[in-house]
Amino acid sequence: MGAAAQPSPDARVADFRKTFSRAEAEVGRVIVGHEPVIRKVLTALFCGGHVLIEGVPGLGKTLMVKSAADSLGLNFKRIQFTPDLMPSDIIGTQVLSETNGRRDFNFKPGPIFAHMVLGDEINRATPKTQSAVLEAMEERQVTVLGETYPLEAPFFVLATQNPIELEGTYPLPEAQMDRFLFKVVMTSPKPDELREILKRTTGPKPPVSQSIFDPHQAPRQIEALKALVREVIVAEPLERYAIAIMAACTPGSPAALPEVSQYLRFGPSPRGLQAIVLSAKVSALLDGRVSVSYDDVDDAVVPALRHRLLRNFQAEAENVATETILEQAMKKLKRPRN
């Protein structure tokens, strides 16, 4: 008996689309509106990246992440970041325990050991604590007292930060911001959406997301879908196009656009390029294609790069957002000859 027959590419792509759509629908049963945010969160999950969500309190950030975990059959942990939060509170610590009269140090995993971790108001923790989380995000493992503990895949962190009440906060350093695949911004719901929120949350039976996977199979299935994303083909002209975007957004680069040189201090890192391409691949799969298009790349630029650009004093003084700079740059950038 040989190995199980590999599904055809068409079936794999169809399965991906179906899974993604069902996950979107399940989250959408709980969260009203915010479809682009939900899609980006799920896209980052299948890309293997992490998401920084920015929005005022009460917009349903936590609920959305929990709903996404529920719909995908993944376990979920939430960490409320405070100034006195210690790294051990997140990654875990050695605890002295006594078993049959014998005392041993046993590792007690922290909340980071979960498939989906919500770091709420991450900018309220000290940099030391932030660094502990961000290291885990990148390495997908934690080290406690010289012993390394891998994090179970899929490991997905969603950090939120409140753009207001910045007093007493510790804004994430640029190096740490760079570790997030996307930064998505949640905006206030519209009146119709508010009405729907009221209807869903104040009724006798609030909606709950249902898992689309068997919880025991979910991690493996999600990992298979993540592998499919990486198999999506990117043509050389599209790679060059993405690179041109990066170069155009890098101040000091010969290809930098004037507004970039005017308002930015630093441009995106190569992680930004990876984020763009991976996101574009997911977009291609969602469209039923196995190759990336220019539209896919364009669609990924703002969420993938907005938090990687460091504005200069002039931009801050003139209140020029990085999104504005990116959109202007995108307008001026021309695609290679089609």
């Binding site: 590419p9 083909i233 990117v234 043509a235 050389e236 599209l238 294609r289 190759s291 539209d295 000859r337």
Partner: protein
């Protein structure tokens, strides 16, 4: 079964062709405009002459033509290079991108093409999803035909090309306007000769003559051709025409073309005209034979005193059966052949005016003949002779202008020197010294005094000159036979109302018809009106129009008006 890679390659070839054609078309109009205009500059110059009365000099024409041809060739080269480059620029992946656009492929065709070009379609190197990509592209290209999708549409590039060509045309127009010049009398004369040559070329057997006339016309127009050569060529042409006419004259009458019955009266009036010219002291004797059919008697006496030692006096006689008597012009040339034409009365028909059919000297003679009926060819020949005579005059006048100072330098205060002698062309000092020139037989009084330092000086016995009494010494009296007119010196030509000038005792010259308006506003705002009683002027200083009473019959010839007067006549 669709083969995507081959189809993309076919699309690439098609796109290369379209791009090359598009690029070539962008420069096609300027190139063709330059080349066509450069080639057609001659006709354009002719139209400029015919319509506007201006000419483009040969130098200007050459410059413009060279520029236009250069523009055309450069545009052609640029278009060719552009087409070649455009065809080469259309690569395989670029073509795939265009195909993607055409079929809405979301860069799937592009991706397949780039993988194919990079050699990443092998099973070992390609993605696991490649078969799906191939299948999707195949489906996309099922109904794709490069020839129908990528059409060869040259409308837009030609429109843009026309915009590029527009400056060329505007530049040509501006250059033409800038380089157009009013023609010199010599050029006008040359054009007239060319026109005559063209009409002669249409006549049977006139091709050779037309070619010669055209050649001579171009030569006299060309400033690089020496004066003597021009005169020589003109003389040769004149001789040829004379011989041709003599041959025609010697043809028996019954071989001549029968005249139209309606012109019988005129035939009657055209009496046989026999003229003789006798050279006085020269060695040449000439006879001029004319013919007049009818019943007119006439005499033509022509006298011409030529240059010293070779002067010839022409005497023409015209005899017939009619009762006409009149004055005519006798003429003689150096060959001793003279033609006498005159006017006379034939029956009740009266004709006035004389016509000197010969080219040079014709003063003081009497002619009597009439010949109103001429065949079209004869008229052309006569017109040709007339124009050639004028051309000679122009050449001579031009020569006098250019080499006048040399002549003057040969004289001295005592009147001794190398000045023109009687009988020589005063306007052509070089020829004046050439006393054997057969075409310079001048009547007495036409030449300058011996030793005179100025060929245009007062002439002995120049009584017939209407302004002779008022001429300023040293003024340009000119010679009407040479196409010159007396210069309007100061006030002599302007009279107050009622005041008559000296009697116009013009003899033996061609008439000038000046048709002045009946009412001319004076310079000071007054008016001049003419009625049966005479001329009345409200201001004293206006020119008196010539009376038309003496012009019952239009003169046969309108004399060439000197260039300086042309702008005055409307």
């Amino acid at each position: 079964m669709v083969k995507p890679v081959e189809l993309i390659a076919k699309a690439r070839r098609r796109l290369a062709l379209v791009a090359a054609a598009d690029q070539a078309a962008r420069w096609a109009v300027p190139a063709l405009t330059g080349l066509i205009l450069g080639a057609a500059l001659g006709p354009i110059g002719a139209v400029t002459w015919e319509r506007a009365g201006y000419i483009l000099s040969d130098t200007a024409t050459f410059t413009i033509r060279l520029t236009l041809l250069a523009i055309g060739v450069i545009a052609l080269i640029i278009g060719s290079i552009g087409a070649w480059q455009a065809a080469g620029r259309t690569g395989f992946v670029d073509a795939a991108a265009r195909v993607d656009e055409a079929v809405g492929g979301h860069e799937e065709v592009l991706t397949l093409a780039s993988l194919s070009e990079a050699g990443q379609t092998d099973a070992e190197t390609r993605s696991a999803l490649f078969p799906m990509l191939w299948r999707r592209v195949t489906n996309l290209l099922e109904a794709f035909d490069p020839d129908t999708v990528f059409r060869l549409d040259l409308g837009e590039p030609l429109r843009r090309s026309s915009l590029v060509a527009l400056p060329v045309v505007i530049g040509l127009a501006l250059a033409t306007l800038a380089l157009m010049r009013p023609p010199t009398p010599m050029q006008i004369q040359a054009r007239k000769l060319i026109d005559l040559a063209n009409s002669l070329a249409n006549e049977p057997g006139g091709e050779d003559l037309a070619k010669q006339v055209e050649s001579v016309a171009k030569d006299i127009e060309n400033p690089d051709v020496p004066q003597q050569e021009k005169m020589q060529k003109l003389a040769d042409l004149m001789n040829r025409i004379d011989k041709q006419q003599q041959q025609q004259a010697q043809t028996p009458p019954d071989q001549k073309k029968p005249a139209n019955g309606a012109d019988k009266k005129q035939q009657m009036a055209s009496a046989s005209n026999t003229g003789s010219s006798n050279s006085g002291s020269g060695a040449s004797n000439g006879k001029s034979n004319g013919q007049s059919n009818g019943q007119s008697n006439g005499q033509s006496n022509g006298q011409s005193n030529g240059s010293t030692g070779n002067a010839s006096s022409g005497k023409g006689e015209s005899s017939g059966n009619g009762q006409s008597a009149g004055k005519g012009n006798g003429s003689a040339n150096g060959n001793g052949a003279g033609n006498g034409n005159g006017t006379g009365n034939a029956g009740k028909e009266a004709s006035a005016g004389g016509d000197s059919s010969n080219n040079n000297a014709s003063t003081g003679g009497n002619n009597a003949s009439s010949s109103n009926a001429k065949s079209a060819q004869n008229q052309q020949m006569m017109e040709l002779q007339k124009q050639l005579a004028k051309a000679q005059a122009q050449v001579a006048m031009e020569g006098s202008k250019t080499s006048g100072p040399k002549t003057a330098s040969g004289g001295n205060g005592n009147g001794a020197g190398n000045g023109p002698k009687p009988g020589s062309n005063p306007n052509n000092p070089q020829l004046a010294n050439n006393q054997n020139n057969p075409h310079n037989n001048k009547g007495p009084g036409q030449g300058n005094k011996p030793g005179g330092s100025n060929g245009n000086g007062p002439k002995p016995g120049s009584g017939p000159n209407p302004a002779g009494g008022n001429q300023v010494a040293g003024g340009n009296q000119g010679d009407t036979h040479l196409g010159e007119m007396p210069a309007p010196v100061r006030f002599e030509r302007f009279y107050q109302p009622g005041q008559t000038g000296p009697v116009l005792n013009i003899r033996d010259t061609r008439f000038v018809l000046f048709r002045l308006p009946t009412a001319t506003p004076g310079a000071a705002g007054g008016r001049l009106s003419t009625d049966k009683a005479g001329v009345h002027a409200s201001t004293p200083y206006v020119n008196v129009p010539l009376s038309q009473a003496h012009l019952e019959v239009a003169p046969d010839e309108h004399q060439l008006v000197p260039p300086r007067y042309r702008e005055l006549i409307h």
